[in-house]
């Protein structure tokens, strides 16, 4: 099973909520060869969606060129302290993960 994400959501001046997401994922490119010379198959996050109190605020697509253990930053208007921000990802092998944070 995948390790949890770390989501930080902070309300800033001007009513903007800044979100930083850390994801635990190998982000294997599919270009690397192992010690036996065999190509290591690609294994990476493909789709990410983020919601604020159930309303979609961001959807993203990643290719294998996103760094291992990805970091993603985005921000949106309309958040209030105590609101929930939920982030989900799915990868190309059917792996998935959903985690939630509270805006502070």
């Amino acid at each position: 099973m995948s390790d949890p994400m770390r989501i930080r959501a902070q309300l800033k001046d001007g009513g903007i909520t800044e979100v930083r997401v850390l994801m635990a994922h190998v982000m294997e490119t599919g270009q690397r060869k192992d010690s036996a010379g065999a190509t290591v198959p690609a294994h990476h996050i493909q789709s990410i969606s983020a919601t604020h109190n159930g309303k979609a605020v961001l959807s993203a697509q990643f290719g294998p060129a996103v760094s291992q253990n990805p970091v993603m930053n985005f921000s949106f208007k309309g958040g209030a302290k105590g609101d929930k921000v939920t982030v989900s990802w799915t990868d190309n092998k059917g792996g998935k993960r959903t985690d939630e944070a509270t805006i502070s």
């Binding site: 390790d3 949890p4 994400m5 770390r6 930083r20 850390l22 994801m23 635990a24 190998v26 294997e28 690397r32 290591v40 760094s67 291992q68 253990n69 970091v71 930053n73």
Partner: protein, 273 residues
Amino acid sequence: MKSRNWFATITAACLSLPMALNVVAQQDAQKEIERYRQLLADGNPAELLEMRGEDLWKQKRGPKNASLEACDLGLGAGKIANANAVLPRYFADVDRVMDLESRIVHCQITLQGFTREELTKRPHSLTVAERQTDHEALTAYAVGLSRGAAVNLPQAHPKERESFLRGEKMFFFKGGPYDFSCATCHSVDGQRIRLQDLPNFQKPDNAQRAFTTWPAYRVSQGAMRTMQWRLYDCFRQQRFPELAFLSQASVDLITYMGVKAKDGKMDSPAIKR
């Protein structure tokens, strides 16, 4: 002679111009690398490992089905916060000096009933894309709780002093096929490997910067590395015999570095190249 001076001045200017440009370019490059490091600082994947470590720390595990919550890292049972800033230190229950990683392993043995053999067999994840080990996760959690604490290793006990002196001796000991010591690179100013400035441990600010930023997440390896790993890898690069995990030698070197870094503010796990 006037004309000769004039010629000499021009020549010097012609020679020094490209050199000066080179220096400027190098300084700009250094500045940009510094900016790169700052851009990375907010968003350290080691935080994920700290979370995993916290979870592991509080889980009941091992033959004794116990958590590590009663572990004494030197400040009393269960007191993890800031403990890493005063380690290595003397522990009366084992009558010797231990670093953080030795003490975590000790707690896993005494509290949870794991065997030393199983805990020390493969403490570090080594291959690309390998999942980080439980040892790395537990270490990440414990060091993370010392952020901001001032480094202040106790040196009052004779064994703490002996540990420092042995560490110092090792630091300056030359050997191996390169006839190298730690001091060869780490006791002079201005040394670097590729773009990494090497700390001069005879200068407090250098020693503090180095000691307070390990363990660290290595972006090139996609993994957080512990202080024990850092020294193991230094020995490998010196072509020294393998520095055994948790060995007295490893603990003594950490004591030496920690004493040299007194008053630095812990800032690990950090993030590095």
